[in-house]
Amino acid sequence: MERLSRWLALPPLAYLCALFGLPLLLMVLASFQWPGEFGGLEPALDRSEDGYRLNLTLESYHRLGEDGLYLGLLLKSFLYALVTALLCLLLGYPLAQLIARSPSRWRGWLLLLVVLPFWSNFLIRIYAWMILLSPEGLLLGVLNALLAWFGLGPVQLLYTPAAVILCMVYVHLPFMVLPLYVNLERQDPALLEAARDLGASRWQCFWRVTWPLSLPGVYAGTALVFIPAFGMFAIPDLVGGTEGIMIGNVIRTQFLEARDWPFGSALAIVMTLVILVLAWLAAWLARGKADYG
């Protein structure tokens, strides 16, 4: 049995090496190369009469740090992703709790409702939000009518950073709810009963029992939301307006418009490093708490 499982692990391992590890190495190499005259890359090895010579450079990394422009964008994207993850947690936790506590015959249906939006294409859902958020849209129409009733001026939502956060929260919410649900559903109700018997208030029950036990789910959900949100480019492109650009947009531009693969690679690597450190941190925190649970 042991041996079989080892064999079965081979295909996914090979898949990861071939389609994640290798491209990552190529990207690291590309970030030290010179860009080709018409896009692509200059060869990493120069062939001259007296043999081969390395043709690498640190220039892309120099440009990245030369002033605050790109680092500022990196920080801004980090904050956007962080806010998105926190809002998802705030909205997702009660929802996951509700589903986990509901009668078991309902749970399947409720989970289905959470996953249902995935049945339609991501871009189509964002376009739908563009219609809802536009000044002529239903949502904003109702909101502005309400505001006018209180004597407040109309607000604009589409093409603002708020629209970017709103759409990112909307898109990523299921990634928060699912791991939280898995965790909360498995918690033994007897623990809460014991806490109540020992005189804990409802708040204490939550804060001293449910919350610490759910931390692995919280970390997993936060990582699942934070990581894709950090590199997001489609949402800022569509609803971000003139202020919403994130680091993902810049990376995409390097490959699809500027034809500057080395610089795009360097930006992507810095982003990957930030994410790796955070993922490692989350895993480390989660493991610590799991032992303690």
């Binding site: 002529e136 093409y159 650009i245 034809r259």
Partner: protein
């Protein structure tokens, strides 16, 4: 079982034959009339397979990454020179293109491809201002100047109702023209001035948008758009059909504007250069060529197409410029090297982030 084997055998035998009789067209989306494709298919007894791109750079990036099998591609002039220098294209056999005579002489004089060895002009678009006629009139704004998207004094009347193209080349060129510099200037001082103009105008813009502004213009939520002429044409068709109580206007700014030509070229490794030549000659026929203009309002360099083009389109001077308008148009040039592309990319990031 035997039937299955037989069927499979037949299928395998038929595959190469079918694959041979296909023309692979790599083209901008919605850039050829479906009727033209159908007519060509019945003439050549072959099948036309289309793939689409939304951006020259997307097409180049895909080809650079090794995409193969395309016969015909439709690059804009500003990337044509690079494709020729990279040896990506094959020279045209003009003996197979008798309809080439239909192209207006002026359009054949393309500095990116002298003597048209590799390319045939297909259609062009002018980058200009599209506007909601009712709003512009109500607010007393003159849309025939780039000041309508760059001058804060004008912009304050239409705050949040303006979009500009999400394209570094187009926006830089528009700002340079507004400032009175050549659209293709590479002078860093000019670029800096342009960035400053944009920085002051940006708070009044709703978005950088190259994909959905025509719909918003047609819906009435955007009043002024820095736009491609064919998009404005389509927005106007939509508004007129729906009867929304306003019209969409074309304004070619008096300071000048960019005109972008798209060209038919054959890829060096085209599997079917013969079909590709046949296709080019087919779409150069006046009647076929006119269909694209009637459908999307593309500018048309084909003389023989004129009699078949809707008269109301021929009257739009932004699509069919008269001699006076023509003098105001500038053609985008390719950035000379990777260094300028880097500089432009940095300029763009700065414009967007600050």
């Amino acid at each position: 079982m035997r039937t299955l084997v037989l069927a499979l055998g037949l299928l395998v035998a038929a595959l190469p034959a079918a694959a041979q009789n296909r023309l692979h067209l790599y083209i901008w989306s919605d850039y050829i009339a479906p009727d033209v494709i159908a007519a060509f298919e019945s003439e050549c007894g072959c099948q036309v397979v289309q793939s689409h791109y939304a951006d020259n750079e997307e097409m180049l990036a895909k080809l650079a990454a090794g995409a193969k099998g395309y016969d015909l591609i439709v690059p804009s002039t500003e990337v044509l020179g690079g494709m020729i220098k990279q040896n990506m294209l094959q020279p045209l056999d003009k003996s197979r293109l008798p309809n080439l005579a239909n192209i207006e002489i002026g359009f054949l004089d393309n500095p990116a491809d002298p003597d048209g060895r590799y390319s045939v002009p297909y259609a062009y678009t002018v980058t200009l201002i599209g506007y909601n006629t009712r709003k512009v009139e109500e607010l007393g704004i003159d849309p025939h100047s780039w000041s309508v998207i760059f001058d804060p004094a004008v912009l304050q009347k239409i705050k949040g109702r303006v979009t500009v193209l999400d394209s570094p080349r187009e926006l830089l060129a528009a700002a340079l023209i507004y400032l009175g510099h050549p659209a293709n200037s590479l002078d860093p001082a000019h670029w800096k001035e342009a960035a400053e103009v944009i920085r002051q105008a940006k708070p009044y813009w709703a978005a950088f948008n190259a994909a959905s502004y025509m719909r918003q213009l047609a819906a009435g939520s955007i009043w002024v758009a820095h736009a491609y002429s064919s998009d404005i044409f389509q927005a106007r068709e939509e508004v007129r059909q729906a009867g929304r109580g306003f019209d969409i206007g074309f304004a070619l700014p008096r300071e000048g504007a960019l005109v972008g030509m798209d060209n038919l070229v054959i890829h060096r490794d085209a599997p079917r250069p013969d079909l590709a030549h046949q296709f080019i000659n087919f779409v150069l026929d006046g009647r076929q060529s006119a269909q694209l203009t009637n459908l999307i309002g593309a500018g048309n360099p084909n003389r023989a197409a004129r009699p078949y083009i809707r008269p109301d389109i021929l009257e739009i001077s932004a699509i069919f410029p008269d001699a006076e308008t023509l003098r105001r148009l500038q053609v985008p040039e390719e950035l000379p090297s990777a260094r300028e592309r880097r500089a432009l990319s940095r300029w763009w990031t700065e414009v967007k982030a600050r």
